[in-house]
């Protein structure tokens, strides 16, 4: 099932994503080690060093819950076999677009 995230090798571009602990909002890890609700702000990671950043994120438990790698294109767009899930997660439910981030409803 989708809750078991696919393993991403070191060469695959990825970002760290999680949920804000206080609100549950979907967020992405930025280069300055903050969390943004905008995927465009996320730091795109490659190489084995990415694992250290995920490990750091996993310790940031006061701010976020359940961080994991999400595959992206080199320029930070959603990619890979989880594209549908992560697109919905980033933008909002397709049946209620007025509640999604694509409607500027952050």
């Amino acid at each position: 099932m989708s809750s078991e995230r696919p393993k991403l090798g070191p060469d695959i571009p990825k970002v760290v994503t999680a949920w804000l602990s206080a609100t549950g909002r979907v967020v992405y890890l930025t280069q300055d080690r903050n969390w943004s609700e905008d995927l465009a702000d996320a730091e795109v990671l490659t190489g084995i060093g990415a694992n250290d950043i995920l490990a750091w994120a996993a310790k940031d438990q006061t701010r976020v819950s359940d961080p994991y790698f999400m595959q992206v294109t080199p320029d930070g767009k959603v990619a890979g076999r989880e594209t549908i899930r992560e697109t919905i997660r980033a933008r909002g439910p397709t049946n209620h677009p007025m509640f999604g981030k694509q409607a500027g409803n952050n």
């Binding site: 809750s3 206080a22 609100t23 909002r25 979907v26 438990q61 549908i84």
Partner: protein, 553 residues
């Protein structure tokens, strides 16, 4: 309706207060998510795809106007103005911030509601027949027994850490409207040879990854033995249910692996071995006390025929259609039970806006003896409506956009939230359900097709009950693309059957046209006299329907 006593009120408020402290510790970083997760789940709080989700218990699906209005207020103040009624007669909110959860539990407690037993490996919220106390074919109102089970199971220390979640349903009608054969334990109230009312115990049914129709473990259990016999079953399960593999942890797997006879032997042995001090024999005065809360309302002495209702039906085809499809016979002359199908074309099955919830509260209060039910089909039911009031009820429903005239028909689709909301889902359910609904957009065509249950799940966990749909749709992930397997021949009633997967999955856009071909095949094969879809399929077999399903578009 049951009213809280001081113990219920204290228990619910103390639980909310306890959770407030747990949330505060989580937000301060004193509790890590891995430690907080089981605590939030015990209070109905899930972390879903976009946000936290709160599942609120509606014991045996019964609400009144005051509760419904409070649920609407929660939707407005803490969520995004809508809520989702579920296949387990509960209600879910998709957007509540964790920091707000304790306040929400407090305002729920103000109207005798809570989120206990809506998650975790405990005995979950007990479900029942949404027409209980109103329909003609029940031998007794099952709700007092649901309430007794609720009180017995809430925070029961022996059963608060079961191998897996545990779902109990109770029905008392000849027709099973509570799907008791696909529950961990289904209780079907029946008379024995002496005419005494008791319970048929059906154990080990379920859907999900490994679907089973539950077998009967005992044909009849006396009322006074209900809780003791439940405990005997729970103890055998608690002792032998697998905890090493959550996919094999439900009681259905235990019953299957032990074999029915051995399972029965162990339950009977456990039941016989209970000492007198540990048997839970309910005092009659306690049964009477709880039963009194469910005393039938004082129905007016009315004629079975209502001129106002007859005039309403003759006014328009729209009225006649709603009356035919959405009203059910009532035990009292001059009354009917009204289905409010939360299945308007293009809307998420089971969703209602806060305005619609308030409208249902107003209508239920004014015209429905303040009794409002949630059906496992994700519809709302007003069990007691005077036929004389049907014109006013319909007008009010129409003003609120709640007048879908499709109860029990092709567009009255059961669907889980799917990938649009759920963190476990593989594929979207709502959009597929909406596209199938569009197949039945022509009322004349939908009526011509007649009774049809289409159930859609976004993953194998089967929250959309796809295994028991006449037509089931299961979303699967295939290398990152949404595909949908189609199943035929399921049913959740007293003739419960698990549907059969037909073959390879279809692409999202292929599903609705394929369903249309299946329906056309049915119409070409059915016998005169309105033979139902499921009956035609039983008579002729599934092969022609499968052929139509995969016919090149």
């Amino acid at each position: 309706m049951y009213r809280y006593d001081e113990f219920d009120d204290t228990l619910v408020r103390e639980r909310a207060q306890q959770f407030r402290g747990q949330v505060e510790r989580r937000l301060k970083g004193e509790l890590k998510e891995e430690h907080f997760k089981p605590l939030r789940l015990q209070n109905g709080v899930y972390l879903q795809l976009h946000a936290y989700m709160l599942r609120v218990a509606i014991p045996y699906g019964q609400l009144n106007a005051k509760k419904m209005r409070q649920l609407a207020m929660v939707a407005d103040v803490y969520d995004k103005g809508y809520a989702h009624f579920t296949t387990r007669q509960n209600v879910q909110y998709n957007w509540i911030a964790l920091a707000d959860m304790p306040d929400v539990l407090d305002v729920l407690a103000d109207v005798e509601m809570h989120a206990i037993q809506t998650s975790g490996n405990c005995i979950r919220n007990v479900t029942s027949d949404h027409l209980a106390g109103a329909n003609r074919d029940e031998i007794e109102d099952p709700r007092p027994w649901c309430e007794i089970i609720r009180q017995w199971s809430t925070f029961h220390p022996e059963f608060s850490s079961l191998p897996r979640k545990f779902k109990i349903a109770v029905t008392a009608g000849e027709t099973d409207r509570a799907a008791v054969r696909v529950h961990d334990i289904g209780l079907h109230m029946k008379k024995n040879a002496e005419g005494k009312v008791g319970f048929e115990f059906i154990v080990g049914g379920g859907l999900g990854r490994t679907p089973f129709v539950g077998p009967t473990v005992r044909e009849w259990v006396a009322k006074e033995d209900l809780l003791s016999y439940l405990e005997a079953n729970m103890r055998v399960y608690n002792r032998h249910g697998r905890r090493d593999n959550k996919y094999k942890a439900r009681i259905k797997i235990l019953v299957s692996e032990l074999g029915l006879e051995e399972y029965k032997r162990q339950v009977e042995e456990e039941f016989a071995a209970q000492n007198s001090w540990e048997k839970v024999v309910l005092p009659q005065e306690e049964i009477d006390r709880i039963t009194a809360y469910f005393a039938p309302p004082k129905f007016e002495m009315l004629s079975a025929a209502s001129p106002a209702f007859e005039a309403f039906k003759s006014e328009s085809r729209e009225h006649a259609r709603w009356a035919k499809n959405n009203l059910r016979p009532h035990r009292a002359p001059g009354y009917a039970s009204a289905h409010i199908a939360l299945k308007q074309q293009g809307e998420a099955p089971g969703d209602a806006t806060s305005d619609q919830m308030r409208a249902m509260a107003d209508i239920g209060e004014r015209f429905g003896l303040d009794d409002i039910r949630v059906a496992h089909e994700q519809d709302i039911v007003l069990p007691h409506v005077k036929l004389d009031d049907v014109p006013a009820v319909y007008a009010a429903l129409k003003a609120a956009g709640l007048h879908a005239s499709n109860a029990g028909l092709g567009s009255d689709i059961i669907a889980c939230p799917g990938l649009d909301y759920c963190n476990l889902s593989n594929a979207r359910s709502i959009s597929v359900a909406n596209e199938i609904q569009a197949v039945f957009a022509d009322p004349e065509f939908e009526d011509e097709v007649g009774t049809l249950h289409v159930n859609v799940s976004g993953c194998i966990n089967a929250c959309g009950h796809h295994h028991v749909g006449h037509i089931g749709i299961l979303g699967v992930d295939k290398k990152g693309e949404e595909f949908y397997q189609v199943l035929f021949g399921g049913r959740a009633d007293e003739k419960a059957a698990i549907a059969t997967i037909q073959g390879p999955g279809l692409r999202h856009e292929e599903v609705a046209p394929a369903i249309r071909r299946v329906i056309d095949t049915y119409l070409s094969l059915r016998r005169d006299g309105g033979e139902k879809f499921i009956d035609t399929m039983s008579r002729v077999g599934q092969a022609p329907f499968k052929e139509a399903l995969y016919a090149a578009a």
